[in-house]
Symmetry: C2
């Protein structure tokens, strides 16, 4: 029988931990905007204990995400694609904290990409492993760096990173495009207008982006909706490019929060694909599957 | 005979003024990083006098650039394309300062763009008018918002804005891509590597950009050259998109500083076009031509 454990999802900008029972149920959880970039002087253990100090120190911790990167706690070498739960289980790195906790790190993947030579991810591999039972052929993980991931025979075959989320933040917060915006309340119709514009001419994005300003200046889009338009342009451009060689029978699942995930679901539907929204806890499921295969829980 | 005047090029981020003789020679000049965004409480006249207070108050001032925008000194309505020196001369707006200076504002252009409905520019129209004698069919004005401008029968027929310069700054200074960079010294070979990558797949820019990080992480591009690579990706994407419908007999001229201009010249040559670098003073020439037609000098 599988043992209880602590699931640790420690990314660039957020910390999330779950206490998981032997049956796989979440019995406690904690989250903080304390990603690895906010950890000073390598004090990862202090931050961990600050958040989960009250949880049983004998529970094994299963960790994934950017915490295994060079900027993280314990750097774990990438595994090459294709890779699935077996390969990830074999590659687990064990680290014992000074307080005696056993942390089992699940490493990320490297893809010998034809387009950019090297592509990488950390954390998404575990989310995908936790979502395989849903039968999708492709997964999308929205975020700072969105990933479009292709699965074959229950293994991650290839993937591509898109800087969509980070790019949205740059234009929203640091560019002239943000000046005319009033809030970020979602406006689905205007979002779709942006998606359609990007679908019609995906190579024109540096030009199309300027329409976020001019359509605002000429009152063709109201200030409250410009943020949705910008989001539509960028997500539309990503979806247009990522899916252009995919068969229309590809079956997508979006792994992410309901808010951002819904945008990707809408754009993928507009592109003619079958698409569902995945389970927000797929990362915990994936950690359980991989750790079980490794025999550590 | 044409009269002497003061040429004022006042943009978003910089202020430039030239004292020009009756023969068209520059007899004095001043420049400051005091663009219209740096002018507080509408005190344009104070900033102007601070910089050119010593120059003869009876000289007419010919002004162009973002100083005629809504965020500028005197908002001038856009002229629609096509427009040339005659239309711009007729549309000049006269403003008299409290110190008695006559400022003649040259307005910008609006284009009923098929791609983004509304496209606009201010300042570049004057640079193009000052460069027409060179016989180019297309002009490129690099900058925060780069413009690709088509000329027919000595008038600006159409144009498209690309957010290339601003986007470079966003990724360079505010994104994860800047983290691995060491300086911005130009590396022509690596710049061209970025251009080629963008030419091969211009719709993939949000994906290709991520290679600025991975090629750095995997030591395929050295930290000193990553900035040139990013620049090549973005300029390559702009040139690929802007020129895709242009005949190879199009004759380009790049109007901009030697440093940034050289990058556009290189990318346009790689795309197979005839291209030259224009005169940095083309804006002053254009102001002289337009003001002369208007009879104000």
């Amino acid at each position: 029988m599988t043992k209880p454990f602590i699931a640790l999802d420690w990314g660039t900008t957020s910390f999330r931990a779950y206490r998981v029972s032997a049956q796989g149920e979440i019995t406690d959880q904690t989250a903080a905007p304390e990603g690895i970039m906010a950890v000073m002087d390598g004090k990862f253990e202090d931050v961990l204990e600050h958040h989960i100090g009250a949880w049983d120190k004998t529970l094994p911790i299963i960790a994934s995400g950017m915490v295994t990167s060079r900027q993280g706690w314990v750097e774990c070498p990438y595994l090459d694609c294709p890779a699935g739960a077996d390969e990830l289980a074999k590659a687990i790195t064990l680290h014992t904290t000074t307080s005696g906790r056993k942390v089992h790190f699940i490493t990320g993947l490297h893809h010998n990409s034809t387009s950019i030579t090297h592509d990488v991810l950390r954390g998404e591999e575990t989310q995908v492993i936790g979502s395989l039972k849903n039968g999708a052929t492709h997964f999308v993980t929205p975020g700072t760096h969105s990933k479009i991931i292709a699965v074959e025979n229950s293994r991650i075959a290839s993937f591509a990173t898109y800087m969509t989320g980070e790019t949205f933040g740059l234009y929203r917060n640091h560019s002239i495009l943000g000046r005319l915006m009033a809030g970020d309340a979602p406006d689905e119709a205007t979002f779709k207008q942006g998606v359609e514009k990007a679908f019609a001419d995906p190579a024109g994005i540096l030009h199309l982006l300027f329409s976020t300003r001019t359509l605002g200046l000429f009152n063709a889009i109201k200030p409250e909706s410009l943020s949705s338009y910008l989001s539509g342009l960028l997500i539309g451009q990503e979806v247009a490019h990522a899916t252009k060689h995919h068969s229309k029978t590809a079956n997508y699942q979006v792994l992410g929060s309901a808010a951002v995930g819904a945008n990707y679901v809408a754009a993928l539907k507009m592109a003619g694909f079958n698409v569902t929204l995945g389970d927000p806890l797929c990362g915990v499921y994936g950690q359980r599957i991989i750790a079980e295969k490794a025999g550590v829980i």
